[in-house]
C-alpha cells in the first residue's frame, strides 16, 4: 500500500470481454477459470442456458453471458473461457469471449451505471470502473442469476405457449 493513497479502498475484479466491452466481477465470487469444454445441452431450458458441465464430479450449470445480455451468440474460439462463479450456495459457469486480467480498482474510480450501456441491462450492473481510458462494467452476479431464474419461469411458460402455435 502506497503511503500517499492509504485512505482509498480498492477492490479486486476479474475482467473479461464480451464483444467490444469489458466486464468485471468481484474476485471473491470467482472460483476458477476454465477453457471451453463440451457442454451437455439441457432441453427445454431457457435459451441462454448453455447446459451443464462436469467439473470434477460436480454438475455446474453454464450460462452463455452473450445470450444472457441479448447479444448475438459467438462460436467458441481458443480464447473462450468459462468463468466458474460462486454466488451464495450456487455455482454457475459463465461463458465469456476471453478473460483479460485481475485488476485493482479504487472505489473512487467506480461510478454508477450510465443508462445507455449497450450490452448488459443496467439492472445487472453495480457500476462502471475507470482505469486510464478503459471502462470496466462491474456485474452484480446475484442479479444475473436471480433474474435468470425468473426469466426461466417466464420462458418456460412462453415455451409451452409456443408449442401450441
Amino acid at each position: 500500500m502506497g503511503s500517499e493513497r492509504t485512505a482509498v479502498e480498492t477492490i479486486q475484479v476479474v475482467s473479461f470481454r464480451l464483444g467490444l466491452e469489458e466486464y468485471g466481477v468481484d474476485i471473491a465470487q470467482v472460483q476458477e477459470i476454465n477453457r471451453m469444454v463440451a457442454v451437455t445441452h439441457v432441453p427445454r431450458a431457457p435459451q441462454f442456458m448453455e447446459g451443464v458441465i462436469n467439473l470434477r464430479g460436480q454438475l455446474i450449470p453454464i450460462i452463455d453471458l452473450r445470450a444472457r445480455f441479448g447479444m448475438p451468440r459467438a462460436e467458441p474460439t481458443k480464447n473462450t473461457r468459462i468463468v466458474v462463479t460462486e454466488i451464495g450456495a450456487k455455482r454457475v459457469g459463465m461463458v465469456v469471449d476471453s478473460v483479460s486480467e485481475v485488476l485493482r480498482l479504487a472505489v473512487d474510480q467506480i461510478e454508477a451505471a450510465p443508462e445507455m450501456i449497450t450490452g448488459a441491462d443496467t439492472e445487472y450492473i453495480r457500476g462502471v470502473g475507470k482505469i486510464d481510458d478503459r471502462l470496466i462494467i462491474l456485474l452484480d452476479l446475484a442479479r444475473v442469476i436471480s433474474t435468470a431464474e425468473r426469466h426461466e419461469l417466464e420462458s418456460a411458460g412462453a415455451g409451452d405457449a409456443a408449442a401450441v402455435a
Partner: protein
C-alpha cells in the same frame, strides 16, 4: 449470562436444542398417551411420570442455557405438576391429562417461536394462568395430604425409613440439584468425573450409600419417587447407572446424530468411486479390443488388460461395500414418522366423537433418511383420512355389528429392495356408487362411462375430488389424495388403494430403499445420451415404422393386443432429431400398469448411475429428473418417466376402444396438455 455467546457457538446449540426437544416432545406425547390409561385405574406407573418429569427437566435446563425464558418458565410449571403427580399429591383426572396434553402443545409452540426468533404464540399466558390455578389447588392441600399419609399404617413387609433419613436425603438431593443447575448454566463442556469437585463426589457417595441402605421396593412413595431428581447429574456415569435413570437410557434411541450434509458428501465420494470403477472397465474393454484388433497381440498388453480387469473387479467389490455401508448410515427407522401418529389419532378421534385404536407394526423398518422425511406428509394425510372418512361413528359401527372402536393399522416391512407401508382401517370402505355419482357431477367422467371398480376407486386421486359433502378442518377438502399420490410417485414409489365396501380401506405404498444410485438403461437421442431408470422399463425393442399407427392424432403401436401410445423423446425435448425411415427403437416404460413407448435413436446398454440433481439455477425441466456423470466423464440427463407418462395419460385414455373420458381436468393438467398438437 449476557456474555454466554462468547463461550459456545449459539447457533450450533440451538440446532442441538431443536433436535433434542423434538425427541423429548415426542416422548412426552407417547408418555401422556400411556398415562391416560391410568385415569380411574389404580396407581400410576411411576416410570411414566418419572420419564415425563425428566423430559421436562431437560427441556427446562437446555432452554435456560439458551436463555429462552418463556420455554423455561412453562417447562418449569409443567414440571411442578408432574412433581405433584409423582408424589401422589394430585389425583389423575381427565381434565388434568387434557391440561398436560395442552401444555405439551404450548411448549412446542414456544420452542418453535424461540428457535425461529419469532413472537410467542397467543394464549400462552392464559394457559399458564390456568395451569397455575390448577396446580395451586393441590399444592395447598399437599401439606394436609402429607399429614394424612404419614399417619397411614405402613405395609408390614416394608422397612420403615426414619423421617431424619428422608430429610437428610432430600437435603442432599436438593444440593445436588442446585449443583446440577449451576453446571447446566456453565458452558456445555462434558463433565469429566475425575474433575468433578470433591463435594459433589462426596454427595454422590452419600446418595449411593443411602440407596444401598434402602431396599428400593421398601421405600415409601415420597422417597422412591425422589431419586429421579438426581438425573441432571447424569453427566456423571455413576449417576447414569442408577436404576431410575437406567430406564431413561435404554428407552433412548441408540442412534447418533450425523449431519446430513456430511453424509451427502460421503455419498458423493462413493458416487465418484462408482464412476471410476466404470472408467476402469471402459479402459479394460478398450485395451482388450486393441489387442484383438492389432493381430500383433503383445503379451504385455494382454496381461495389462487382464490386470486391469481384475483391479476393476476388486474396485467394484470395494465400492459396493462402501456404497452399502453408506446407505446403512443414511437409513433411519420409519418409526420416526410413526411416532407422531398416536397423539394425532387420539386428538382427531376425540374431536370427531369416534373411538379409534391405532396399531403400529414394523416401526423399526429402515429406509433412506430422505424418503423418511418425504413420506411423513403423505402418511399423515392417509392416517387422517382413515380416522376422518374411514372409521364410522361408534353407534353406526355397532349397528353394523362391528366393535364400537375402529382400528387403524400402520405396518411397515421390507420386501426385496423395497419398503412396503400399509395403512389400513376397518371402516366403511369406499362407496363406489357415491364416488361415481360425485365424479359425474364434477364432470370428471361421463354419465355413460363404463368403469371397472378399480377405475372408480382411482377417481379419488383426481385433484379436487372428495366424496365428503361437508368440509372438515382435517380432511375432506379434496386436496389430499392426489397430492399423496403425486408425492409417492415422485419418490419413485407405487401407491395403491384397496377398498372393500363396509369392511375397510387399505392404502399400500411401495418405496425404494434409496434414491441416490439406480440401474438405468442408456439410450441415444439426437447425439446425446439419456438415462432411463430401469425400474420403469418393461422392455425395449425394434419395430418397423409401418407398425406405428395414428389414433386421434397420437402415435400408437399394438403390443400383444394392448394399444401403447408413443412419445418421440427427441421431438418432446425439441431436439433436432430426424426420424429414422428404416426402424423405430422403442423403450416400453410402465407406471402402475400403464404403458408408454419412448422412441429413441438407439440403445446403449445398462449401467449403474449416481443421480445428481440439476442445479436450481436451471430450475425444473419437464421430463428431466436429474443428471448423472458417465464413466468417460460426460453427462447424461435422466428421463423423468413419471412426468412423461403422466403427460400422455393426462391427454389420452389408454383404453382407446372403450368410451373416452378424460380422467383429469384440473387447470394444471390442461396447461400441461397444451403441447398435444405434436401428437
Amino acid at each position: 449470562m449476557s456474555t454466554s455467546d462468547e463461550f459456545f457457538d449459539r447457533s450450533e446449540f440451538i440446532r442441538y436444542f431443536e433436535d433434542e426437544t423434538d425427541e423429548l416432545l415426542n416422548s412426552i406425547d407417547a408418555d401422556l398417551l400411556r398415562l391416560e390409561h391410568f385415569i380411574d385405574a389404580g396407581p400410576i406407573d411411576a416410570e411414566i411420570v418419572n420419564s415425563l418429569f425428566r423430559a421436562l427437566h431437560t427441556i427446562k435446563g437446555s432452554a435456560g442455557m439458551l436463555e429462552f425464558a418463556e420455554v423455561q418458565q412453562v417447562a418449569h410449571k409443567l414440571e411442578n405438576v408432574y412433581d405433584l403427580l409423582r408424589k401422589d399429591r394430585m389425583p389423575l383426572t381427565e381434565s388434568g391429562v387434557e391440561l398436560l396434553f395442552e401444555g405439551r402443545d404450548v411448549l412446542t409452540g414456544l420452542i418453535r417461536a424461540a428457535i425461529g426468533g419469532t413472537a410467542a404464540p397467543a394464549g400462552v399466558e392464559a394457559y399458564v394462568e390456568r395451569l397455575d390455578s390448577f396446580a395451586a389447588v393441590y399444592e395447598s392441600t399437599a401439606q394436609v395430604i402429607e399429614g394424612v399419609r404419614s399417619d397411614a399404617a405402613p405395609d408390614e413387609d416394608l422397612t420403615p425409613v426414619t423421617a431424619a433419613e428422608v430429610s437428610a436425603f432430600e437435603a442432599e438431593v436438593e444440593r445436588l440439584l442446585a449443583e446440577a443447575e449451576r453446571r447446566a448454566r456453565t458452558p456445555a463442556t462434558p463433565v469429566d468425573p475425575a474433575e468433578a469437585p470433591p463435594d459433589v463426589e462426596a454427595a454422590q457417595a452419600a446418595v449411593d450409600a443411602l440407596f444401598a441402605a434402602l431396599p428400593a421396593a421398601a421405600a415409601p412413595d415420597a422417597v422412591r419417587a425422589r431419586p429421579a431428581s438426581a438425573e441432571p447429574v447424569a453427566t456423571n456415569p455413576r449417576a447414569a447407572a442408577k436404576p431410575d435413570a437406567k430406564r431413561g437410557q435404554s428407552a433412548k434411541n441408540q442412534t447418533i446424530r450425523v449431519d446430513i450434509e456430511r453424509l451427502d458428501l460421503l455419498l458423493d465420494l462413493v458416487g465418484e468411486l462408482v464412476i471410476n470403477r466404470t472408467r476402469i472397465s471402459d479402459i479394460a474393454a478398450t485395451l482388450r479390443r486393441e489387442v484383438g484388433n492389432g493381430a500383433r497381440a503383445q503379451h504385455d498388453l494382454a496381461t495389462l488388460a487382464k490386470d486391469l480387469s481384475e483391479s476393476s473387479a476388486l474396485l467394484g467389490r470395494t465400492t459396493n461395500e462402501i456404497q452399502e455401508s453408506i446407505m446403512k448410515v443414511r437409513m433411519v427407522p420409519i418409526g420416526q414418522v410413526f411416532d407422531r401418529f398416536p397423539r394425532m389419532v387420539r386428538d382427531l378421534a376425540k374431536a370427531r366423537g369416534k373411538e379409534v385404536h391405532l396399531e403400529i407394526a414394523g416401526a423399526e423398518t429402515d429406509l433412506d433418511k430422505t424418503i423418511v422425511d418425504e413420506v411423513g406428509e403423505p402418511l399423515m394425510h392417509l392416517v387422517r383420512n382413515c380416522v376422518d372418512h374411514g372409521i364410522e361413528p361408534p353407534d353406526v359401527r355397532e349397528a353394523r355389528g362391528k366393535p364400537r372402536h375402529g382400528t387403524v393399522k400402520l405396518n411397515a416391512y421390507h420386501e426385496g429392495n423395497q419398503v412396503i407401508i400399509e395403512i389400513a382401517d376397518d371402516g366403511g370402505g369406499v362407496d363406489l356408487q357415491r364416488v361415481r355419482d360425485k365424479a359425474v357431477r364434477m364432470g370428471i367422467i361421463d354419465e355413460t362411462a363404463k368403469l371397472s371398480d378399480r377405475e372408480i376407486v382411482e377417481l379419488i386421486f383426481t385433484p379436487g375430488f372428495s366424496t365428503v359433502e361437508h368440509v372438515t378442518d382435517v380432511s375432506g377438502r379434496g386436496v389430499g389424495m392426489d397430492v399423496v399420490k403425486k408425492n409417492i410417485l415422485r419418490l419413485k414409489g407405487v401407491f395403491d388403494v384397496d377398498a372393500v365396501r363396509g369392511q375397510g380401506t387399505t392404502f399400500t405404498m411401495k418405496l425404494p430403499l434409496t434414491l441416490a444410485i439406480i440401474q438405468a438403461l442408456l439410450v441415444r437421442v439426437a447425439d446425446e445420451l439419456y438415462s432411463i431408470p430401469l425400474d420403469a422399463v418393461i422392455e425395449s425393442q425394434r419395430i418397423e415404422p409401418s407398425d406405428v399407427r395414428t389414433v386421434q392424432g397420437g402415435e400408437v403401436i399394438t403390443l400383444r393386443g394392448q394399444v401403447v401410445p408413443l412419445i418421440r423423446v427427441g421431438e418432446f425435448f425439441g431436439l433436432d432429431a430426424p426420424r429414422d425411415p428404416d426402424k423405430v427403437m422403442i423403450v416400453i416404460v410402465g407406471l402402475q400398469g400403464r404403458q408408454v413407448g419412448l422412441v429413441v435413436d438407439s440403445f446403449q446398454g445398462e449401467q449403474e448411475i449416481v443421480i445428481k440433481p440439476l442445479s436450481d439455477v436451471i430450475g425444473r425441466i419437464a421430463g428431466i429428473s436429474g443428471a448423472t456423470i458417465l464413466g468417460n466423464g460426460s453427462i447424461s440427463l435422466i428421463i423423468d418417466v413419471h412426468s412423461l407418462v403422466g403427460r400422455v395419460m393426462g391427454l389420452r385414455a389408454h383404453d382407446t376402444g372403450g368410451p373416452r373420458y378424460a380422467p383429469v381436468r384440473s387447470e394444471e393438467m390442461l396447461k400441461e396438455a397444451r403441447w398435444v398438437p405434436n401428437y
